[in-house]
Structure formats: structure tokens, C-alpha cells
């Protein structure tokens, strides 16, 4: 409130100065506050820029395209920017809002028919086109994920093999007592499934915690409100489901090896 009053007072004092809004990152880095006077120019180092007053400091949006770019953002009145940049009566684009989704198609059609030398696009299509960087990162993450899954599967199989071999004498005794191979396999698979389930739950917990850590760290590093890591119900379901399947398959394969060996051989005779 007070800041706005200060700006209003300054404007009354110097009505020829236009106002601009700057983003919080610029304000922080350059130590600029509301009411400060700045010079803006389209050419770096130009001595003859426009003097303006900072009237607002903006929060940055959660725009992935801004990550890793150290650009600052300044908002100016359109005519002021056109004048500073010597753009004349030109803009780069128009943003158009329609009355509801149903009007989008007709608006697109009408604009493209009428606009000479321009093309209208759905915002969604532009987003897809400009998000190639994140598609690359996403593919990379998926590839790492696949490698991790393969490694985990091998690891799981190895561990299950070790676990069942540790108990081969117990299994041999059970088989000699008349317990069927099917029962032994079911027992081992049940144990593997339980291990996989417990491991998955722990893993989800660790993953959630790591996700919080990642967001906290990168939001601070890039000074962005963007969520870098998001755990959704689908992801949890997929992870738990996959590890269950891998665990069960590993247990099944390991137990199969065990029950195919004659009991006396398991005893070491």
C-alpha cells in the first residue's frame, strides 16, 4: 500500500516518466526497489535511454522455458516498449482468449482467413513445439529409468538365488517329508512378493523424500516456483506394480532352480 502511494507521489512529481514492472530476480540481484528510477534502452550501454520508475515487482511464473536462463523480465506498456525498441506500430504476436473451448476452432478459422501474412495457433500446440528441450530431458530420464530397472531386475534375481540356496537343506528336508514342489515354489514366490512389496513401500517413501529434496534444492538454485519432481498416483502404481512383478518373477525363477534339484543333492549327497 505504502509502496503504491510512494509511486503515485513520484509520478505526481515527475509526470513525464513512465512506469515499468520488473521481476523479483532482477530486483534482488540489482538491489532495485519500488519507486527507483532506472534507464531503459534497446541498445546495451546506450547513454540516451528512457528514464522510468519501477512501479511493481513481479513473481516469476513456473515456466520451464525459463529454467537455466539467467534472463530478467521487465514489463512495460506496449506503446512504451514499441517506442524504446523503435518497433513502430508492430507486435510479435497477439494472445487471444475465446468464450469457452468450443469457440477456439471457429476463432482459429476466422483469424487465419482474415489475417494476411499471419497464422493463428492453439497455445497448446505452441507449448508442444517449444518444449522440445523437456522432451529430450524426459527421454533421457526414461532411458536412465530403463537401465535402472534392468539393473534392479538382475540384482533381484541374484539376491533371490542366494536366498533360496541358503535354505536348500530346509527345502530338501521338506521335499523328503512329502511337501510338493508346487508348495515350495508358492512359498518362495510369496516371500519374494512380500519382500518386493515392503521394498516398494520403502522405495516410495524414499522417492517422495528425494522428490521434496529435489524441489527444494532446484527451486532455490533456479529461483523458480516450478516443480522439478512430481510424484503422481500413476507413477506410484507403476513403480510398485513393476517391482512386484520383478520380485515375483525373480522368486519364481529362483525357486524353480531349487525344486528341479533332487533333495538328496540339495543335502550335499
Amino acid at each position: 500500500m505504502l509502496a503504491h502511494l510512494a509511486v503515485a507521489f513520484l509520478l505526481l512529481q515527475s509526470p513525464q516518466h513512465r512506469t515499468i514492472a520488473i521481476d523479483e530476480r532482477l530486483a534482488q540481484d540489482a538491489g532495485i526497489a519500488i519507486g527507483d528510477r532506472l534507464t531503459v534502452s534497446a541498445r546495451p550501454g546506450a547513454p540516451d535511454g528512457d528514464t522510468v520508475i519501477v512501479s511493481a515487482i513481479l513473481k516469476r511464473s513456473a515456466d520451464p522455458a525459463e529454467i537455466a536462463r539467467s534472463e530478467y523480465q521487465v514489463r512495460m506498456h506496449l506503446d512504451h516498449l514499441q517506442s524504446v525498441a523503435s518497433y513502430g506500430d508492430r507486435v510479435d504476436r497477439f494472445a487471444v482468449a475465446t468464450r469457452g473451448d468450443s469457440a477456439i476452432e471457429s476463432a482459429l478459422r476466422d483469424i487465419n482467413a482474415a489475417a494476411f501474412g499471419f497464422e493463428a495457433h492453439r497455445s497448446r500446440d505452441i507449448a508442444v513445439g517449444t518444449s522440445r528441450t523437456f522432451q529430450v530431458v524426459s527421454r533421457f530420464h526414461k532411458a536412465i529409468g530403463v537401465i535402472t530397472i534392468v539393473a534392479s531386475a538382475i540384482f533381484l534375481l541374484c539376491i533371490m538365488l542366494l536366498k533360496v540356496e541358503e535354505r536348500r537343506r530346509d527345502v530338501a528336508a521338506l521335499r523328503l517329508m512329502g511337501i510338493s514342489a508346487t508348495t515350495v515354489v508358492k512359498g518362495v514366490v510369496a516371500e519374494a512378493a512380500l519382500l518386493a512389496l515392503v521394498g516398494s513401500v520403502l522405495g516410495v517413501g524414499v522417492g517422495w523424500f528425494a522428490s521434496q529434496l529435489i524441489n527444494w534444492y532446484y527451486q532455490g538454485l533456479y529461483r523458480s516456483p516450478l516443480y522439478f519432481s512430481l510424484i503422481t498416483a500413476e507413477i506410484v502404481t507403476f513403480a510398485v506394480g513393476l517391482s512386484l512383478v520383478l520380485g515375483i518373477v525373480a522368486g519364481f525363477l529362483a525357486s524353480l532352480r531349487l525344486v528341479r534339484t533332487p533333495p538328496l543333492t540339495l543335502f550335499g549327497r
Binding site: 536462463r69 533421457f140 539393473a151 540384482f155 541374484c158
Partner: protein, 393 residues
């Protein structure tokens, strides 16, 4: 005998041993990839920047080369100022712009670089000759593939497109003199090269440049030269390779961090696998180990044998992982190489022997560490009690 016993023990459970080696191989591959990734981008970029010997770049103040559309005015004045410094050997101003090439019923949009062919450091001539005259142009393979042109062809080249009037501010016929490869070109990017005055004229930016490439004498301190340039020409930013690398590090710090985390996890997983295997193996052989102790085999030799088993698994896995790692690195690199705007010459995963040795070293240490505790524990069991328990079991 230590070696013989270790080998015999590994062969005894061949499936288990092979699986463990496979598991270590995957962990080793991931570790190698992460070590390669942590330094690859930086090294690759540094090699690229140094490839033509230009140690400094000058860009509009506060920007990185070609980061924005901003240009530097007063090129001739700046060149004259820079020539005053005897340490500066070569000055190559470069102007980037966009051209439109109508061929048939299609118009191809291409990036273009204007530079002095005699001293430029942006492209490499593959065939033909440099574009020297004002009506000459060299093109890259992506341009040739898209347009179907050949060296010697003439084509219409235009700039300054007005979409409303559908006209160009400048249009002229140019002859293709050569085929070039742009060192900093991105994949599938149409690009051409002309001499600097031509581009300045066509883009209506007389005496402008997007950047300057600067070569200083080999015995000169590059940072001192950089500081001199910024002092003499305050409206530009001078970037040494070191500062450029710092910027890259900052922007792509995520990959270094990811590399560190995944590398550590891979190492840990490999260690865990080997230590689990060794522990189970040792627990199965407690009787044998205790009998060896009873026979007079020293603790040290028993520990050596067991540790050796861990090392064999780890090293075998590491060697297999080296091959696997190079394959997966190529695959992962091909994914990351499709980053929009990334120079084709940049590799995220750069194989350096140092990286391979580091991975091998880390894995060997983990293999040794994996076996030490279970081995020592088993070798320290009280002989008489253990033999009695084994007899009962």
C-alpha cells in the same frame, strides 16, 4: 593356493557368479557413463571452443554469443581499438542473420553467418571454396539435403521478410561456391556462410557484428587480455574459454549433479551386490573356512582368498561394464544430442581414459571393501565352537 581356492569357489556356483558379474557390469556401465557425463560436456565444449585457436569471444554486453538478437555497432572502431593491443593476433567479426531462399514453390529459411573467410573460426570447408565475392555463398549439408542444390548452382537469397506485404527488403542472386560444416551448428539446421559486408548489407546492419572471435599470442595471459578488452570497449562482454565454460557449467549443472548422484548409487548398488554374494557364500562355507583355520591356514590368507573372490567378480563386471557403458553412453548421448540448438559437435558423454580408470579404481576398491568384513568375520570365528555347530547342523 589362495588364488586356486578363490577361483574354485567362484566356479562352484557358476550361475550365481555370472549373475553377480552381470549385475556389477550394469552398475559399472552406469558408473562409467556418469563419470563420462560429469566431465564430458565441459571437455567437449572446451575442445570445440579451442578447435580453431580463438581464446576469446566478444558479445554485446551482458549476453552470451548468439544468445539474443542484439548486435555490436561500430565494428570498424572496435577493430581499430583492438589492433592497438600487440597481444591480439587475429580479430574475426561475425554477423548472424536469417535468409530466405525460394526454390520452386517452397521457401527455405536458413541461418547465415557473415565473416571473413580468411580468418573465420566458425566453419570448416568440406569441398569447393570459400565465399569471397559479394555474390558468393557456401552452404552446409543440411541445406543441400533440404534444397537439392549443388556447388556451382545459382539461387535467389533474400532477407528482411515483411509478412504483411510478403516482400523482402533485399534479394539477390548468389552462387554456391562451397560445402561447409559449421562447428557450432545444431543438428538438422540449415546454415550458410557469406562474407561479412554482404550479410551486413542484406540485414541492413552496416558496421554491426553479433560477436568477435579473438586470437591472442600463445604466451599471453588470456584473462589479462579479456580484462583489457572490457576496459577499452565497455559496451561489450569479453568471454574467455574459462568464463564460457563456467556459464555452461552453471546452465547445465543439473547433468553434473545427476551424474554424481547416479554414479554414487551405481557404485553403492555394485558394492551391495558383491557384499551380499560374498556374505552368503562365506556363510555357506563357514565349516570349510574353520577347518582351514584348524589346519593352520592363517586368517590373512583366508581373508585374502575371500576378498579375491569379490575382486574377481568386481573386475570381471567392470571390464564387461566398460563395453556396455560405451554402448549405453552412445545411446544416451544420441538422446541428449537432440537438444534444440545444441552444436552437433558437443558430446555429453566423452570417453576419456581417465574416466575409465577412475571407474575401474572405484569399483576395485568397492570389491575389496565388499569382501573384507564378511571374510574377517568368518576367519575370526572360534574354531572349536564353530566346528561343533557345523557338525550339529
Amino acid at each position: 593356493m589362495v588364488v586356486q581356492l578363490a577361483w574354485a569357489s567362484l566356479r562352484r556356483h557358476a550361475t550365481r557368479t555370472l549373475l553377480a558379474i552381470l549385475g556389477v557390469a550394469v552398475a559399472a556401465a552406469m558408473l562409467l557413463d556418469m563419470v563420462m557425463m560429469s566431465t564430458g560436456l565441459r571437455e567437449s565444449f572446451r575442445e570445440l571452443l579451442m578447435s580453431r585457436g580463438f581464446q576469446l569471444r566478444i558479445a554485446p554486453r551482458g549476453t552470451l554469443p548468439f544468445d539474443t538478437d542484439a548486435t555490436i555497432t561500430g565494428v570498424s572502431g572496435i577493430v581499430a581499438t583492438l589492433r592497438m593491443n600487440p597481444d591480439i593476433v587475429t580479430i574475426s567479426p561475425v554477423l548472424g542473420s536469417t535468409i530466405h531462399v525460394p526454390i520452386g514453390d517452397r521457401t527455405f529459411t536458413s541461418a547465415t553467418l557473415g565473416a571473413d573467410p580468411a580468418i573465420q573460426g566458425d566453419y570448416e570447408l568440406l569441398s569447393g571454396r570459400d565465399p569471397i565475392a559479394r555474390d558468393e555463398i557456401a552452404v552446409n549439408d543440411d541445406f543441400i539435403r533440404a534444397t537439392g542444390v549443388r556447388i556451382g548452382d545459382s539461387m535467389r537469397v533474400a532477407t528482411g521478410y515483411d509478412p504483411q506485404l510478403r516482400t523482402y527488403s533485399d534479394s539477390r542472386t548468389m552462387v554456391i561456391t562451397g560445402r561447409v560444416r559449421f562447428l557450432y551448428g545444431a543438428a538438422n539446421q540449415l546454415a550458410t556462410a557469406m562474407n561479412l559486408p554482404t550479410v551486413q548489407e542484406m540485414a541492413r546492419l552496416p558496421d554491426n557484428a553479433s560477436l568477435f572471435m579473438i586470437k591472442v599470442r600463445d604466451d599471453v595471459d588470456v584473462e589479462e587480455a579479456r580484462a583489457w578488452i572490457e576496459a577499452e570497449v565497455p559496451r561489450v562482454s569479453a568471454l574467455s574459454i574459462a568464463t564460457a565454460l563456467e556459464q555452461v557449467d552453471q546452465r547445465l549443472s543439473y547433468f553434473r549433479q545427476l551424474a554424481f548422484i547416479l554414479g554414487t548409487v551405481s557404485l553403492f548398488v555394485g558394492f551391495l551386490l558383491v557384499t551380499t554374494l560374498i556374505t552368503v557364500s562365506v556363510n555357506e562355507r563357514v565349516g570349510e573356512i574353520t577347518v582351514m583355520r584348524a589346519l593352520g591356514v592363517s586368517k590373512l590368507h583366508i581373508v585374502q582368498q575371500i576378498v579375491l573372490e569379490g575382486v574377481v567378480i568386481t573386475l570381471s563386471g567392470a571390464i564387461a561394464g566398460l563395453g556396455l557403458g560405451l554402448v549405453t553412453a552412445r545411446y544416451l548421448n544420441s538422446i541428449l544430442a537432440s537438444f534444440p540448438g545444441l552444436p552437433v559437435a558437443i558430446d555429453f558423454f566423452l570417453f576419456q581414459p581417465k574416466a575409465a580408470w577412475m571407474s575401474l579404481g572405484l569399483l576395485s576398491l568397492s570389491g575389496i571393501a565388499a569382501g573384507i568384513y564378511p571374510a574377517f568375520r568368518a576367519a575370526s570365528l572360534p574354531i572349536a565352537t564353530t566346528l561343533r555347530e557345523e557338525a550339529i547342523a
